[in-house]
């Protein structure tokens, strides 16, 4: 029995710790992989300690956790005492049930309600303070939300202890001449302290770990660690996040061990007290260490900080861009945002801070912009989205040709269909959609067909990926069938839906940026994606190939725009101008891997040499440079001409609201068209039946027992009376 329990414990803990140990192992990986261990290195720790993003997030997380835990503890402890003193049972239970709502409610509902609440608050505030942005109240919103969901845990921890303690002690104190306040602070509080502290630690942990509520409420200028990790896991987690987790877990582990070890030595009586103080001290120590470390490494101030305080206030501009869509200093590349801060300071003597956040799809960006009160200064939508945003009057009008570097944009890319007079946008990158395949997993003759139908090939069932957004996913089916991707005919969309439903059973999954991970670890064999991202993947996994399907592909241009409600449009224009400069544009083009619309980039010999030497070789010996700029099979030419000509087809156009709703509904139907495996029904129904049977049985037993006691009591009474 004893051995069995030991084996059981070991087994469960082993399973529980496998992912954590693997995570620690891969934090020492030499390569940028979380699946294949290639060698030991401290590279990711160095990377982590030089990443201001991670440390800012860590500091934000800690500050938020400490403040919300403190606030929740104070309010919660007072409330527990107050609730205890309440005489009305009804009021008591009413307060208790309301308090428990955030605990009982799923996080996602609390998050949703908080988000809507703060949106309403913003609506009211906007009337009073015309120029307010969500970022101004963002931190307060986060603090309020975190405190709200921490509160019930504090009360739940403190209230039972107060109930247990009773009134006798504080009454004695009052009788001996204490004021009520003294009685509370000198007598009651020390006695309930363990419960208060455990409530606080609980609140701290919960706030630290919270992702869902922060995800809904979080402003763009206050990123917490879970949010950072989420944005990273959308694409590919680099092992530096593993390194950070390793550091956190090792620190916590050491502190727990130390506190345990120390309390062993002391006598049983003082143990509890000591334990409490040790827990407090260790929590404080973690915070202090973390804050000190983070303040060392955080370079929160703009890159121009060293240049003394000339300009006074720091202007913050909010840049909202696609994930992995700017050269960020990784691996020795240029940190474009920092360079801009320096450039701006040199030019105007004013300090600017670039607050850079990312999104995964055009639609995400659009809804964030139109639904929340977050204000951005720069966004980088694709062509059709720009068209839509111009139509809806969401973009700031500025004359792009007034920018001194606008001449660097090649003529072809000026006056595109969505912005004929260059009044709203400046092209950032352009590229094509195509099919990525794994050369060792896909047979050559299947590739040679150069068709979208590879995505429907039964032979590769379970190894195929599809876009996880309606526009691109529908497009793959529509290009294959030669349908118009901008069709206004609902039947055309139904036709495409049928194809996608047919494809669903052979898919491994619908993915967005997860594709990087799936393709480079050879988890999947075939996926539709964009050429620039393909080059990034090919850099890591040479076994990948790419082709433009013959039926036609999407040609897109992503362009920098300024939203209408931007706070600093002049600085934003300066930012756009800076991005067009040779240095920044080349750094970006090399980093992102998409084609550049910038003449200075395309004609630059070094850049050309870099791309030709990229480590990619196509079937006919073409290089990465060719893939981006020269490979222009007839189909691409067609797409290209359509983008730059006048007729519409191959590039996306903005939908009418009716078609948009239609597409969303169809997409939902696709997601819903899922045949649940029978074992799930059987198992879950079985469990429900079992639980119900148990409940009925226990009710039956209870009734039987109470009947027995009732009879017994009656009998006892009778015998007593008889006596």
């Amino acid at each position: 029995m004893k051995y069995a329990s030991r084996i059981y414990l070991c087994l469960i803990f082993a399973v529980l710790y496998i992912p954590i140990v693997t995570l620690m192992l891969f934090s020492f990986n030499a390569e940028n992989s979380t699946a294949e261990f290639t060698g030991f290195s401290l590279r990711w720790y160095i990377e982590l300690f030089s990443s201001t993003e991670a440390f800012t997030a860590l500091r934000n997380t800690l500050v938020l956790a400490v403040l919300s835990a403190l606030l929740a503890t104070v309010i919660g402890t007072l409330a527990a005492e107050g609730i205890y003193k309440m005489r009305s049972k009804l009021l008591k239970s009413a307060i208790n049930s309301v308090t428990n709502i955030p605990m009982m409610n799923p996080d996602i509902v609390t998050g949703m309600s908080m988000m809507l609440f703060f949106a309403a608050i913003m609506g009211i505030l906007a009337v009073v303070i015309p120029n307010i942005s969500y970022n101004d109240i963002g931190f307060a919103a986060m603090l309020i939300s975190h405190t709200t969901f921490c509160l019930p845990y504090v009360i739940l921890s403190v209230l039972p202890r107060i109930n247990e303690l009773g009134d006798t002690m504080s009454e004695a104190a009052l009788d001996l001449g204490c004021t009520p306040a003294q009685a509370f602070f000198k007598v009651k509080l020390p006695n309930i302290m363990p419960a208060v502290l455990s409530g606080m630690v609980m609140a701290f942990t919960l706030s630290l770990d919270d992702f869902v509520i922060s995800y809904f409420v979080g402003p763009s200028n206050f990123q917490t660690l879970p949010l950072l990790i989420y944005s990273m896991t959308k694409k590919k987690v680099t092992p530096d996040m593993y390194a950070l987790s390793t550091i956190i877990i090792v620190t916590v582990f050491l502190l727990l061990v130390i506190s345990n070890f120390k309390s062993e030595k002391s006598s049983a009586a003082s143990r509890k007290k000591k334990l409490i103080s040790i827990v407090t001290i260790s929590v404080a120590a973690v915070l202090a260490i973390a804050l000190v470390i983070s303040s060392f490494f955080i370079d929160d101030a703009p890159a121009t900080d060293g240049a003394a305080d000339v300009g006074g206030d720091v202007i913050t501009i909010n840049v909202y861009n696609w994930g992995e869509y700017i050269s960020d200093g990784f691996d020795g590349s240029m940190n474009v945002n920092e360079e801009f801060e320096k450039y701006y300071f040199d030019k105007y003597g004013k300090r600017v801070k670039v607050n850079y956040t990312t999104y995964a799809t055009n639609e995400d960006m659009y809804s964030k912009l139109s639904n929340s009160a977050v204000k951005y200064d720069i966004v980088v939508p694709s062509d059709y989205m720009i068209q839509k945003m111009i139509e809806e009057d969401m973009l700031y009008e500025f004359d792009a040709s007034s920018l001194s570097n606008f001449g660097n944009i090649m003529d072809d890319y000026k006056g595109l269909y969505y912005d004929k007079d260059n009044m709203y946008s400046v092209p950032y990158t352009c590229g094509m959609m195509g099919i990525i395949y794994n050369k060792s997993m896909v047979s050559e003759e299947d590739v040679r067909e150069m068709s979208w139908s590879l995505l429907w090939n039964q032979k590769y069932a379970g190894k195929i990926l599809q876009f996880n957004n309606p526009r691109d996913a529908f497009a793959t089916a529509m290009y294959m069938e030669g349908l118009d991707v901008n069709s206004t005919d609902p039947e055309v969309w139904d036709q495409a839906l049928d194809l996608l439903i047919k494809q669903k059973p052979i898919l491994q999954g619908y993915v967005n940026d997860e594709i990087f991970n799936k393709m480079t670890t050879e988890s999947a064999a075939i996926a539709p994606y964009f050429v620039g991202d393909f080059l990034t993947m090919a850099d890591q996994e040479p076994n990948l190939g790419f082709y433009y399907p013959k039926e036609g592909v999407n040609y897109f241009v992503d362009a920098m725009c300024i939203p209408k409600n931007a706070e600093h449009p002049e600085v934003a224009m300066e930012y756009i101008n800076f991005m067009l400069s040779e240095e920044a544009a080349i750094a970006n083009a090399e980093y992102i891997g998409y084609a550049s619309p910038n003449r200075l980039v395309v004609e630059n010999d070094e850049y050309r040499a870099y791309m030709e030497d990229y480590g990619y070789e196509g079937e006919n010996g073409e290089t990465a440079y060719d893939l981006l700029y020269n490979v222009m099979p007839a189909e691409i030419n067609k797409a290209y001409n359509e983008m730059f000509g006048s007729n519409d087809a191959s590039c996306y156009r903005s939908f009418s609201p009716e078609i948009q709703t239609r597409v969303n509904t169809l997409w939902e139907n696709l997601k819903l068209s899922d045949a649940t495996e029978p074992w799930i029904h059987v198992l879950s129904i079985g469990i429900v039946v079992l639980v119900a049977a148990f409940a009925i049985y226990s009710i039956y037993i209870k009734k039987k027992r109470s009947r027995f006691y009732r009879y017994r009591d009656r009998d006892n009474k009778r015998t007593a009376v008889a006596k």
Partner: protein, 284 residues
């Protein structure tokens, strides 16, 4: 109770009442907070659920929920299975820990809590990196198990992530059971298994119920686990809400949230009927 009552005269009783009234004011900040930040936001959810995107009163969001019934069903089923597995694994675990020496108990509880200090997202991602088709496990064993992308993987992720929430309340409950109960059961002729089934299990019911609640609720509403381990071929209700949030269909999102909340609060109330514990649940 009565004995204590004799000691206090009518006058002090009156004073005590006054004091109590004065001191229940301490709850005022909390009540204010709760009304403003708990109740009001829920009313806003209700408002959104019953209006269309132009702010006009409408039932269309609620009516459209029938489309989501299969997703509700699937989420519920997966969550029920995950909770049952958590209970099946977690109860013996809590029992083993509670039976261990006090010195060891502390270590086990620490080991159980430690993973919770690693972010849930990172843990889930780590599972994905291990179980993926080209992941660590498959490359280590040179196999090609297809796990990620199945519903089994999602259940595994739920069990893995939420197991501590099941074990901790049950452990607290079992370790609070008076030793004399075990002895009494043994004295009255119960074997070790009989003791667990007839005495310990019923007495730890409140722990089980709070454990079940704490696993079931996050399992039903998760969207991260299903996104990472489910491969995106199927959706859970959390994914649907998240998608509505991301695409800006807030009214439908609010309607789904509302229904989910009502269903969960009802089922929790029903569950708590079976719990004898006075204070809802016990945590840690």
């Amino acid at each position: 109770m009565k004995v204590a009552g004799y000691g206090s005269l009518g006058l002090t009783n009156l004073m005590k009442n006054k004091r109590s009234l004065g001191q229940s004011i301490l709850a005022a900040p909390h009540i204010f907070w709760a009304v403003l930040f708990i109740i009001l936001p829920l009313f806003i959810v209700v408002y959104y659920a019953f209006t269309d995107s132009n702010g006009q009163f409408s039932f269309s969001n609620i009516a459209s929920l029938t489309d989501y019934a299969p997703i509700f069903g699937l989420s519920l089923e997966l969550a029920i299975i995950a909770t049952a597995i958590c209970l099946a694994i977690g109860y013996p675990l809590a029992y083993c820990i509670a039976k261990a020496k006090p010195k060891h108990q502390k270590i086990f509880i620490m080991l159980l809590m430690l993973p919770m200090w690693t972010n849930l997202l990172i843990r889930t991602y780590s599972i994905m990196a291990i179980l993926d088709d080209g992941g660590f496990l498959n490359s280590l064993l040179n196999t090609s198990f297809h796990i990620v992308g199945t519903k089994g993987a999602v259940i595994f992720g739920m069990v893995y992530d939420f197991l501590p929430y099941m074990v901790l309340p049950i452990y607290t409950c079992i370790s609070k059971i008076d030793r004399s109960m075990w002895e009494a059961a043994a004295d009255l002729g119960c074997g070790p298994i009989g003791t667990v089934v007839k005495v310990i299990f019923p007495l730890s019911m409140s722990g089980i119920i709070s454990g079940v609640t704490m696993v079931l609720v996050p399992s039903i509403s998760t969207f991260y686990i299903s996104q990472k381990l489910g491969g995106g071929t199927f959706e859970l209700i959390g994914d649907t809400i998240e998608r509505q949030f991301v695409t800006g269909a807030l009214n439908v999102g609010a309607a789904i949230s509302l229904v989910m909340m009502v269903l969960i609060l009802i089922s929790i109330t029903i569950m708590n009927r079976f719990s004898d514990a006075e204070e809802g649940g016990i945590i840690v």
